[in-house]
């Protein structure tokens, strides 16, 4: 049960705190999830853009990045490699951008189920699964044909 190098959860939230995607790789109760989402939002929303992208969260660390009005947050262990996860967020955004061609928040709202599909190709078991943008985009078009 080594979770020490694992992403605990991924959150996509807008500035108002609305959750656009939430994926938990550790078992949390519903009430706990709500608390986590509220706390993480409060933690990141008012941070200056000149600040670090890392902020301590309980006994862990949240690595976050803001794109327009959206915050992408990953919760990882304090000893984990911060910058690797920071770029992991960016790679995810590039994939979304490619998939939706110029992604905006509305794409993610109306196609939230696609976002979950993409995420499942990108991260599994809290670990990075595939880092090739091309591989993921190709996989997505394979899946779309099946629908």
């Amino acid at each position: 049960s080594n979770l020490s190098l694992q992403i605990r959860f991924i959150l996509l939230q807008n500035r108002q705190g609305k959750t656009r995607l939430a994926k938990y790789y550790v078992p949390l109760e519903e009430s706990e999830k709500h608390k986590v989402e509220y706390e993480v939002h409060r933690l990141v929303v008012n941070r200056d853009s000149k600040f670090t992208n890392f902020v301590e969260f309980r006994t862990h660390k949240v690595i976050y990045r803001r794109y327009a009005g959206l915050f992408f947050s990953l919760c990882v262990d304090i000893t984990d490699n911060e910058l690797a996860y920071l770029e992991c967020i960016h790679l995810f955004v590039e994939i979304l951008d490619h998939f939706f061609s110029n992604v905006c928040e509305l794409d993610l709202v109306f196609n939230f189920h696609k976002v979950y599909l993409i995420l499942d190709e990108f991260i599994l078991a809290g670990e990075l699964q595939e880092t090739s943008k091309r591989a993921i985009i190709e996989r997505m078009s394979e899946l779309e044909k099946l629908e």
Binding site: T19, V26, V55
Partner: protein, 1039 residues
Amino acid sequence: MSGMRGLSVFISDIRNCQNKEAERLRVDKELGNIRTCFKNDKGLTPYKKKKYVWKMLYIHMLGYDVDFGHMEAVSLISAPKYPEKQVGYIVTSCLLNENHDFLRLAINAVRNDIIGRNETYQCLALTLVGNIGGREFAESLAPDVQKLLISSSCRPLVRKKAALCLLRLFRKNPDVVNADGWCVLNTLLFQFIDVPFIFSSSYAYRADRMAQLLDERDLGVLTSSMSLLVSLVSNDYEGYSSCLPKCVKILERLARNQDVPQEYTYYGIPSPWLQVKTMRALQYFPTIEDPSTRRSLFEVLQRILMGTDVVKNVNKNNASHAVLFEALSLVMHLNAEKEMMSQCVALLGKFISVREPNIRYLGLENMTRMLMITDAQDIIKKHQPQIITSLKDPDISIRRRALDLLYGMCDVSNAKGIVEELLQYLSTAEFSMREELSLKAAILAEKFAPDLSWYVDVILQLIDNAGDFVSDDIWFRVVQFVTNNEDLQPYAASKVREYMDKIAIHETMVKVSAYILGEYGHLLARRPGCSARELFGILHEKLPTVSSPTIPLLLSTYAKLLMHAQPPDIELQKQIWNVFKKYESSIDVEIQQRAVEYFELSKKGAALMDVLAEMPKFPERQSSLIKKVEDVEDTADQSAIKLRAQQLPSNALVLADPQPVNGTPPPLKVPSISGIKLDHESASQTQSQPNGDLSKVQSQIPSADLLGEMVDPLAIEAPPVDMGSHQRVYREEDGIPDEVDGTAIVPIGDQANKVEPIGNITERFNALCLKDSGVLYEDPYIQIGVKAEWRGHHGRLVLFLGNKVTSPLTSVQALILPPAHLKLELSLVPDTIPPRAQVQCPLEVMNIRPSRDVAVLDFSYKFGTSMVVSAKLRLPAVLNKFLQPLQLTSEEFFPQWRSLSGPPLKLQEVVRGVRPLSLSEMENLFNSFRVTICPGLDPNPNNLVASTTFYSENTRPMLCLARIETDPADRTQLRLTVASGDSTLTFELKEFIKEQLIAIPMGSRALVPAVPVPAAPLAQPPSPAVDANDPGAMLAGLL
């Protein structure tokens, strides 16, 4: 959104809601609709079912509780067509977690998809299991998943998912991968051969499999496999050494950008994530023995360290620095040659001054790590100004890193600068950081004070800036220093007097000021604004602002001010008497008692007042005392500096000193006043300790001279109170010496040459490990009792030295040999213990980090003229004293338990030779050393799970978990698993628990008994071996 208009319409509706209330109405309406549809299940088309389940997920994401429909989501998993199946899998893995009962219903359907031939379904199933699979999944699916991982007919797409799925299952139950998963074929082959062979061969098999996976050319599969390897080796690296050279090869391939497809480079960097993972895996191997592998690795690392430039593109920059920081960690782990290490320090020095906040943060973080494992302190110190700048950074994340680093790098050479910065920062720091900050400042100030007046300044500033965050210990400590340092007293008094002019001061400041002005205010008498009356006036102004526990302290101060008023001040007396009279009827017993006592004393005890007023007339006595104190201070200071210079973690100043009884935080001496005639009525009312809980009444002061006792300067520190019972000896709940009867008196003439301890020292120590008071040592002449209080990583242990006989015990020496992980300070021990008297010597303990080493008290005394008795006694300041019981619920326990993976954070061991205990006896045993059993958490009735919190300065309060799996058929063995967030702690706690369980108690190696030393007139007790690294630990090891 192919064909799901209903979903889009619903999302639009939600978006168009004007407010939260409207949104809720819309959601409720939709939920009602879905519920109705699900109830009339018959007419529901798969399409509609799918649509509703997506809506449920959306509603769930909005933050609403969706407490129905889980069954429908799960049932879609077994739908025959892909679109419904897909929804079933995705929504199930979002709505449910591994603990849901519904999930169990799906195991078969999921397994069918995994072993079926439809690749798409395999992927869906592997994804669900990888994301939310629990223990049951692990047990039933691991072999199937492993088959997919190593299958040559599966596409990389499936295999990378299988690798991570297997990783999840391994996390949930490491055994399945070992036994049934990774080496399933192997186990079958060898199951009739003896067990050790199976294990060793399966090891090789497993490692070979893993090593084969690392030959993978597809970087997607390789990335996933590398994560699997990290997890496996983090649990147990042994058996995976064949993977080591392969990892180095992969790293070489990536770092040199050989054969890396374009799609796996990120901003020109060959998969930075795979590079990071590979270097992480290497950090789980303790070392790399093969010289050529090691050389190749260092070449790559060197290339990374030197070849990483700062570039404009932020993504490229981050990615290359992700690799660089991982390389730094690996270099530190491998303990590279000096040259490479200094390259690392140089790099870090560069990073902490760059503008890019992330890099600066990581520079600080890694520098703190560097501090612990190399002797890079001197180079790091050069960066102090830069680090201090970071302490003022607007970003709290950076400030925290800077604080950690400053604390870690502080020593006597830079303490002044660092502590002053911390103080400055304290006034602006956010509340969440203040307590930590003030404690750190206080510790550093005390540890590394260049001079004591500076120490006083620091603590007073600390109280002034952040009184709410300054614990009592901190102000007790400053009082102790002031009391023991004559030179410091006027300075401290004038300092607190300055603070009293401030309009609003913290109550802690009132306390410390009242105490110091009561004792030493008279030293300022000639200064403006410092007459007794003025001091009273300014202190009394504060009285209405303080809480009732502080009032008794103020009353004591008033009594002292009155005594010191020179010449007697009738007006002041009137004012103070008025105060006493006012509080005579206080509902607070403590206040009432003091008011009554002080009033009666100052009124009726005119003789006493006279005696006290003449106090300054006894300079010889005072000076002789002071001289002794000074001697101690000199020696103490020197040894402390020496210790600091040697970078030893403990600089306990432990010296035997003949100064009578002084030195406890707010020390209070009540002289033995048997010679003074007092009104018996008032005496009988006065049974309390004048300074409340801050004080310990000393019933005996060693002195041959009654008059001397009465006029001892110490006497003014608290008016005498306990007149009725000067012979009263402490009556503690639990075995602490009571009034001693005469039975143990040994006539001097009859002394044998050997003094045997009474009772078994080891048993006494073992008992004290589990309780907080009792007898530590006893022989015919002395009894040493202990009473302890523990709070967090602090402890206060009082030694009660009781002379059992009718002649004095002289040349009493007590020396503490502290192990490296404890900071111990014993207050001064009197040179002589008068006949049948008892003295108390408080001992302050601070736990720096987890360790089972034991502190030793080297105790000796002289009886008569020829007999020297000495004993080395282990002190019950043991690991479990820094535990705080904590009972967890299963919701709290299990996530933590799972999140702590195998070694080094979680350690498991089969313990044999356990003394057979019933489960309830074992429960009691665990509870007795403060590892709390959490009943009912483990479904197996033969198992126990337990939790506790460990406190030390270095670890934060750290949750510790333990599981004991007993064998009902054989009570002498069990399997013990211990987990915590700190690897040393896990190990130490595991060993500690083992010691408690094993039949031979840990104290079996008998202690050195009290052996009489041939009476050499110059016999000296051994002096602390400061040159050894850790005298206490060494000694404890020898015992």
